[in-house]
Amino acid sequence: MEFGWTDADLTFRKELQEFVNRELEEGWSLEQRKLGSPENAAFSRAFAAKLAARGWLIPHWPEEQGGSGNTPWQHIIMGEELWGVGEPRGPQYMNVNWIGPAIIRYGTEQQRAEHLSRIASGDVIWCQGFSEPDAGSDLGSLRTRAIRDGDEYVVNGTKIWTSYASVADYCFLLVRTDPTAPARSAITVLLVPTSIPGLEVRPIGAIAGDHALHELVFTDVRVPVSCRLGAENGGWELVREALAFERVGAPRYARAARVLDELMASAAADGTALPGALRERIGLARAACEAARLLAYRVIDERAAGLPPSPSVYVARAAMVQAERAVGSVALEVMGADGLVEGSLADDQFRRSMVAGVVAGSYEMQMNLVGKLLLGLPKGP
């Protein structure tokens, strides 16, 4: 047990910070920062391409797939530094974290050739077609159908609350391939270009941002069987494995901690005296961020040791939600009325904190899993 960084990790973080500061100084406007906006997508392509050129886009991928074989620690350092500044990789963080690795693991030669080089060069955006109007936390009950017809699947159904869909090139789509089989045993993954005929993408207005959410309607969409990732009806296990570490894939505590730092720096610069009770809540919020950081590190430690995912991931994710919420509400208090200005630090953080407990698996699901898997609590009624 020890809590220090290696020299290599420290150097990596420092070089990355210098690079990010330099790149963002040249321009990183409010529109470019709105995750999923067209401006954000364009910025992400330019930024990710530069990361790729330095070997920093997919450093933790295996070397034979173009990665640098870096450690999971350097992967979380990337996540912290990039999420910390608002994620200039845009939606591409998902490709790098888990979509690419899932294709490496389960993809055919053709799929690897088609997708991996684009992901590795920072030039492709994916969205994940998971949630449906009647399948959110209960993802296993999804109903979008894919009926086999020769060399194609005919897909019909609706995906909803899908992030990044209007700027995405591909959708990592979950479908039901056998309507008679039990819920989770008939789910299949399809890698579908969003330009495919019969797919309609409709934006949904959202308090989290205008480009945040979409509805995807599939009407007789014919998807070649060659687009299927992994086995037919093998999607549930595949996704569970691919997303095992994704609950800590976006180190949201790092952004929350950075927001507190920036708020306090500007309060100090303005000479604003913060009341004692508020300073108390700021300290509590900082402590929550630090707890989330260490709990995420414990997951990384397990990953670095090659251990299978443990309930630690649910603990870490729950702690991240607590941290984001604590900072979101305290940020509005620190900024006061100025926090109501669109794009202000508090505005941004508060909105992030509102969705924190829903995206990437609801907070309540994490609570269920901690109760069941970590605490061994008996099954509920």
Binding site: F3, G4, D261, G276, E290, R298, V315
Partner: protein
């Protein structure tokens, strides 16, 4: 960064646990008086002669090991000033102080844990640390049912202009350093104490049947228990990291989060244990009733949360 204990750390905790199995635990806490126990000089001397209280000085073990010892002692409901000795005193001075050691801050007027039994009092002043030898019987015991022997220091026991006890200023003793290690020690004690209370409550909710099912199967309890587990685990790692870095900010962060966890656990543990939890025949109170005492003490040197803000953003002034 390595979260699994080393072989040495595992061996240390195992050895401490063996000793605690003999000298501490709920049965021993009851023999000592339950929620108003006597000081356990035997336990302190056993831990001391085994060398466990000096592991912070051992370069191969360090303060992280001393924190594990402090945590384990609290888990076993030990009634001895282990954190003050193994973490605070060793961080402040190279020469050993006469144990037991009690801790206070200048200006504190209420009861002090272990003060009636202590041979040495360490006082954090505004700019210096005082070492005050305490005569046996000089400090009046205070009857408290919050799980620790306590004493109220007379004015004459307080050093410097406050009193006249023959205390001395500790050479190079920085009050900031004392507070940092005191916070780590309190964090470790809170974490160990909470762990045992939490384990007991978990066992209870799994075995207590109402409406034909274990009460732990109800989501109304499950989510609360899961939230406590998240807070408790986070606190524990923060305390251990603070012990490893020795930084003031990390110590304040660790204690802040630990007190948040304790506040939650204290009320929920008793709620879930129902009427059984109020009885002294059930062990829960041996741990839970100590939590308010530890939480109180956490505030003597100023709120830990405010200390986080002050340490993290020194440029910003209240």
């Amino acid at each position: 960064m390595q979260f699994t204990p080393t072989i040495e750390q595992d061996a240390l905790v195992d050895a401490v646990d063996v000793l605690l199995g003999r000298y501490a635990g709920p049965k021993r806490a009851r023999e000592l008086g339950g929620d108003h126990p006597r000081y356990d000089a035997e336990l302190e001397s056993a831990l001391s002669s085994a060398g466990f209280l000096d592991c912070a000085r051992d370069p191969d073990a360090g303060p992280l090991a001393a924190t594990l010892v402090t945590e384990a002692t609290a888990r076993a409901a030990g009634v001895a000033a282990i954190g003050a000795r193994a973490l605070v005193a060793t961080a402040l001075c190279a020469e050993p102080l006469v144990q037991p050691i009690a801790l206070t801050v200048a200006g504190h007027r209420g009861p002090v844990r272990y003060a009636a039994d202590a041979s040495t009092l360490l006082v954090a002043g505004p700019r210096e640390v005082w070492v005050v030898p305490l005569e046996q019987g000089a400090v009046e015991p205070v009857r408290s049912r919050f799980g620790y022997p306590m004493g109220r220091l007379p004015e004459s026991a307080l050093p410097g202009p406050l009193g006249n006890a023959g205390g001395r200023i500790l050479d190079g003793g920085s009050p900031e350093r004392m507070l940092a290690w005191w916070r780590v020690a309190l964090g470790a004690e809170l974490v160990g104490t909470m762990r045992s209370a939490f384990d007991l409550v978990l066992e209870h909710v799994k075995g207590r049947f109402q409406f034909g099912r274990p009460i732990g199967s109800f989501q109304a309890l499950q989510h609360r228990l899961a939230e406590i587990a998240v807070l408790l685990e986070g606190s524990r790692w923060l305390v251990l990291e603070a012990a490893w870095t020795g930084s003031q900010e990390a110590a304040a962060v660790a204690l802040t989060q630990t007190v948040v966890a304790a506040r939650r656990l204290l009320l929920d543990a008793h709620q879930m244990a129902g009427a059984l939890g109020f009885t002294t025949e059930y062990d829960l109170h041996l741990w839970t009733m100590r939590l308010p005492a530890l939480m109180q003490e956490s505030e003597w040197m100023g709120s830990p949360a405010a200390a986080v803000t002050a340490a993290r953003w020194p440029g910003e002034r209240p």
